[in-house]
């Protein structure tokens, strides 16, 4: 088992507008990309964000060695319950996941 962060170059989360969150996993190499594609299921990401897999858009982009997830923001940007205006703080949730 390794954490996603140990396998890949960088995990980034950002707002995609006030209502969506997008998470880019820059794997850095075909080998790391293959490991993430195989080891990180959409179900696990959904569980992490307490949502359902059908709410998550997943893009496995081989040309870039990138796996991207987009989902409705867990809290609407800037709403009273929001804790992270720019959405950058959700990346560690993925980076710290242990995968096979």
């Amino acid at each position: 088992m390794s954490s996603v962060a140990q396998i890949v170059q960088k995990v980034r989360s950002k707002n995609a507008g006030p209502f969506w969150l997008t998470i880019d996993i820059f794997c850095g190499s075909p080998a790391a990309y293959a490991q993430i594609v195989q080891g990180l299921s959409t179900d696990r990401v959904a569980t992490l964000f307490r949502t359902t897999p059908d709410e998550i858009k997943r893009f496995d982009i081989k040309d870039l060695n990138v796996v991207k997830f987009s989902l409705p923001r867990p809290t609407i940007q800037g709403s009273r319950t929001d804790r992270d205006m720019h959405g950058a703080g959700w990346a560690p949730l993925i980076a710290e996941l242990e995968i096979n």
Binding site: G17, F19, F59, S70, G89
Partner: protein
């Protein structure tokens, strides 16, 4: 006929490399385009109709671009002026522009494109929700302090048609100010929008992203992106990877009047610095729609901060906070008789889970913890009162009755900080327009 667009930076206010700008101006651009805003800094700017950047700083950067425009002899266009693109921020930048022109002894034809909408009118307009849009009713829409529509390429083209040398546009899509001229010149439509998306953050699509300045050349089959700073390079990887940035879908981008599809795009290095892109597709839509953004007041807030350094309290911070919340709520009910549904209190433990809340997976032994109290009420006076009633608990609340009264660190006096109105975004909808200018106003002045 090719079109060369100079993009100095991802946004006015972020700065740009002056030497790179000079080099780009020498390459004879047909237009200088810069974005002035985004929703990324939150709903307060739209809610209040103000810019996030300092007027003084904006003036310095905008003057550099007005000088560059005069040297290049081409139009200068800013979209989403003043962070949110309301009428007030268009006028704010217009006033700054007048000062600069006067300082420089220059004259110019200035076009202002206004994007602001009347909430009462929008409340009566049929709207279509986009994915993950919140539910809205006519009352919610009417309560918005500001609503803007995102202009596309057509509105910018209308402004260019006036012969304006400086165009100050309210809310526009990030791409519209870049795509407008290539489209008008009959360049490849897919390339116009794709190149605009790649270029909208300036040199973020290249190495050395802080340098800002890039040139994008559009023609009838594709586009070429060239960063202008010393040592900055665009590669097929840096350029194609930029489609990921702040996009929920890296292949499809919706704009007024259609969508861009880059699934078939190919990225080729021309040399060590520039990248050529072809194969992007523009798919026109049957109806012309523009997206709306709106913000309303969600309440007024007072915040306080306390610091826990005592190891016993650090270890039991959540219990301490839960106990304070219960006692505070009970005191508010007793003394103010407020309906609990009208106000809200929250304690966020900084150092524990203030960023992720209940989604946090990790625990750690902290040396100290911050406790951020957030009180929200229908008016500022009530929020402040709620804060004052929270204050004694944050200062002295003991975990157990038996112990000597503890005291915790407050970084400020008074501990209560009034935040003013807290705004929230309420619209993620589109409306159809018979004519692209129907929801926008153009004002042209010679100064």
């Amino acid at each position: 006929m090719g079109t060369r667009i100079l993009i100095p930076s991802g946004a006015l206010g972020l700065g740009y490399d002056k030497a790179a700008l000079e080099r780009a101006v020498a390459e004879k651009p047909d237009l200088i385009a810069i974005d002035g805003g985004s929703t990324d800094s939150g709903p307060s700017y739209l809610g209040r109709g103000v810019s996030k950047y300092a007027t003084e700083s904006t003036k310095i950067e905008w003057q550099g671009l007005i000088e560059a425009r005069a040297a290049a002899g081409c139009p200068l266009v800013i979209g989403t002026a003043g962070t949110c693109g309301t009428d007030s921020t268009v006028d704010w930048l217009y006033d700054i522009t007048l000062e600069i022109l006067s300082d420089l002894g220059q004259s110019a034809k200035i076009a202002r494109v206004y994007s602001e909408q009347d909430p009462a009118k929008i409340a009566q307009t049929p709207l279509s929700p986009l994915s993950a849009a919140p539910d809205v009713d006519a009352d919610t829409i009417q309560n918005c302090t500001h609503i803007v529509a995102l202009a596309g390429a057509e509105q910018i083209q209308t402004a260019l048609d006036t012969g304006a040398e400086i165009i100050i546009a309210g809310r526009t899509t990030d791409t519209a100010i870049i795509a407008a001229l290539p489209l008008q010149n009959g360049n490849h439509a897919g390339a116009a929008w794709h190149g605009a998306k790649i270029g909208e953050c300036g040199a973020l699509c290249a190495t050395n992203p802080q340098s800002g300045v890039i040139l994008v050349d559009f023609d009838d089959t594709g586009f070429t992106v060239t960063p202008m700073a010393d040592g900055a390079k665009a590669t097929p990887h840096t350029v194609s990877a930029h489609m990921l940035y702040e996009n929920s879908d890296p292949f499809i981008l919706f704009e007024p009047g259609g969508h861009l599809d880059v699934t078939q795009a190919t990225y080729t290095a021309i040399d060590d610095v520039a990248v050529r892109v072809t194969g992007s597709q523009w798919v026109p839509s049957d109806t012309y729609t523009v997206k709306l953004e709106g913000a309303q007041i969600a309440g007024y807030q007072t915040i306080l901060m306390a610091l826990l350094r005592d190891a016993h309290y650090v270890a039991n911070a959540q219990i301490w906070c839960d106990d304070i919340m219960a006692k505070h709520a009970s005191k508010v009910a007793d003394r103010l008789g407020l309906d609990a549904a009208t106000w809200h209190a929250e304690l966020r433990i900084i150092g524990q889970n203030a960023n992720l809340g209940t989604l946090e997976q990790r625990t750690s032994d902290a040396t100290e913890l911050g406790v951020l109290a957030i009180l929200t009420a229908p008016d500022q006076a009530t929020a402040n009162t709620l804060g004052k009633m929270m204050n004694p608990y944050l200062l002295h609340h003991p975990l157990t009755q038996e112990e000597e009264q503890p005291t915790f660190a407050f970084p400020f006096s008074p501990a209560e900080i009034d935040r003013g109105a807290a705004y929230e975004f309420v619209l993620h909808h589109v409306m159809a327009l018979a004519d692209p200018m129907d929801a926008f106003r153009l004002v042209v002045t010679d100064v």
